[in-house]
Amino acid sequence: MSDNVQITINGKTASVTPLTVVATALACEGVTRFRRSVTGEPRTPLCGMGVCFECRVTINGQPNSRSCQVLCEDGMEIVTDE
């Protein structure tokens, strides 16, 4: 088993196994607000397969990244609820 990778979620450090999907990492850390909708509602992923864009977060400064389609990498910075 290779070493865990370190990521930060909203400034807080988390340690996850390699190849963890970002969305999963967020759920495991208890995030229930992936993004905020245009009217301010909290949203979590709906389709789980990259179609619905509900799981959008900011990854390494790149806004609107689909967290269900990205794998965690060491040093990755994730910001949610935007």
Binding site: A23, R43, T44, P45, C47, G48, M49
Partner: protein, 417 residues
């Protein structure tokens, strides 16, 4: 703009079972093959947890087979346009790929059908296949109370897999009626005998779990996230407490790319001939794009498409009989799990239909067609480009979005010409 030009005999869009089968068949017959896949893994939705190391017999067989061919694959690569004859444009994290091809095979798979009901936008309401896909990606389901709802044989697989992962299935609610369900079941021995073993396997894992036909969710409740769901059987309503709801009303093909190219489409499926060729010469479709039929159908169609695109018509012909059987299975499934009309009336005026732009059913009811609704409310104009609300709007209002314009997936400005 950073752009790389690639040339192959055969380009395949997707890397699920149908694409893998097509890639194997085509490259074994001497063709240069490239696969373009939007996600970071091979295997599509069904085999996504088999990557990078396959565990089940069928996946091991096909993954090994593919690795022994010369087929090239680009993951994290999203096809966004077909800008010229025999040319695809795909976006990667590192600029664009311009792929020139002689033959094209599309196997972009399927997505779930969502029919909005009050509360469906709450956190922890997921699709059914979505919950499955997320669980395969190690989403925390252990110890969670999960209600599984919607329609189709997929619900069994979802409930069984979630239970194995330590979830408590509080209810499995199938909207179709018992008679249609049984009629479908009786066709299995003839059309898809392999599914019977699968069904028995799932059933054995679901002992003690309530499975109800003629049952569907009418409302989801919760302040910050899901807390409970109201179910109905058409006569009586009752509330079920749960942490997650996994709910979808069947599957619908991802037709954006075939539509952009101009392939003929019949009843939500791409029209293909006996060799999986579409109405466009040299363009083939395989898997769920030609009718929702599952893995065996996808693998057979993928092989036929790969062989036909490589000019091996005789070999392709040999698989046609198997394919016809699967086509009958597809039809039996569509009939057995046809959606009941009540589902189209679940949304009240405040229910959001377009989740990207938060457009409600009440707002949409003021319009006669999608074009005017779109212009006035922005329904379907968010990043999912109507992929989610499109189905709902079609079922609820009968409006269909037939105009597809590039990019067929949202792309970065700098990557657009």
């Amino acid at each position: 703009m950073n752009e790389k030009l690639l040339e192959f005999d055969i380009a395949i869009v997707g890397a699920g079972p149908a694409s893998i089968a097509a890639a194997c068949a085509a490259s074994e017959n001497g063709k240069t093959v490239v696969m373009l896949e939007t996600s970071p893994w091979f295997g599509g939705q069904l085999w996504r947890s088999e990557f990078p190391r396959a565990k089940t017999r069928q996946a091991i067989k096909w993954f090994t087979h593919l690795s022994e061919t010369s087929a090239k694959a680009f993951l994290n690569t999203t096809v966004i346009d077909a800008p010229a004859e025999n040319t695809l444009l795909a976006e990667t994290s590192d600029g664009n790929l311009r792929v020139k091809y002689d033959k094209l095979i599309l196997a972009t798979g399927t997505r779930e059908i969502f029919l909005p009901f009050p509360g469906w936008t709450l956190p922890n309401v997921y699709g059914a296949g979505a919950m499955q896909a997320l669980a395969k990606a190690d989403w925390p389901v252990e110890g969670k109370r999960i209600a599984v709802a919607g329609s189709g044989p997929l619900l069994f697989a979802v409930a069984a897999n979630l239970r194995i992962r330590g979830a408590t299935i509080v209810l499995t609610a199938e909207q179709t009626d018992l008679m249609s369900f049984l009629k479908f079941g009786m066709k299995l021995p003839l059309l898809a005998p392999s599914k019977i073993l699968q069904a028995i396997k799932y059933q054995s894992r679901l002992i003690g779990v309530t499975y109800k036909t003629s049952c569907w969710p009418v409302e989801a409740y919760g302040s910050e996230q899901l807390e409970s769901v109201m179910f109905t059987n058409g006569k009586r309503n009752w509330k079920v407490d749960c942490d997650y709801l996994a709910c979808a009303f069947g599957l619908t093909a991802n037709l954006e790319l075939p539509r952009l190219l101009g392939c003929k489409i019949n009843h939500d499926a791409v029209f293909v001939d006996d060799f999986q060729q579409t109405s466009l010469k040299g363009v083939y479709c395989a898997g769920e794009l030609t009718g929702i039929g599952g893995i065996d159908s996808a693998l057979t169609e993928g092989q036929i498409a790969g062989l036909a695109a490589a000019g091996k018509m005789k070999q392709a012909k040999k698989l046609r009989r198997t394919r016809r059987r699967y086509n009958k299975f597809e039809k039996a499934m569509a009939k057995g799990f046809a959606l009941r009309r009540e589902l189209l009336k679940l949304a009240d005026d405040e229910t959001i239909i377009c989740r990207c732009e938060d457009v409600t059913a009440g707002q949409l009811r003021e319009f006669d067609d999608w074009k005017s609704a779109k212009l006035q409310t922005r329904c379907g104009m968010g990043p999912c480009q109507g992929r989610i609300c499109g189905c709902a709007v079609k079922e609820m209002f009968g409006w269909e979005n037939l105009s597809i314009r590039p990019p067929v997936y949202p792309a970065k400005m700098k990557n657009l010409e």
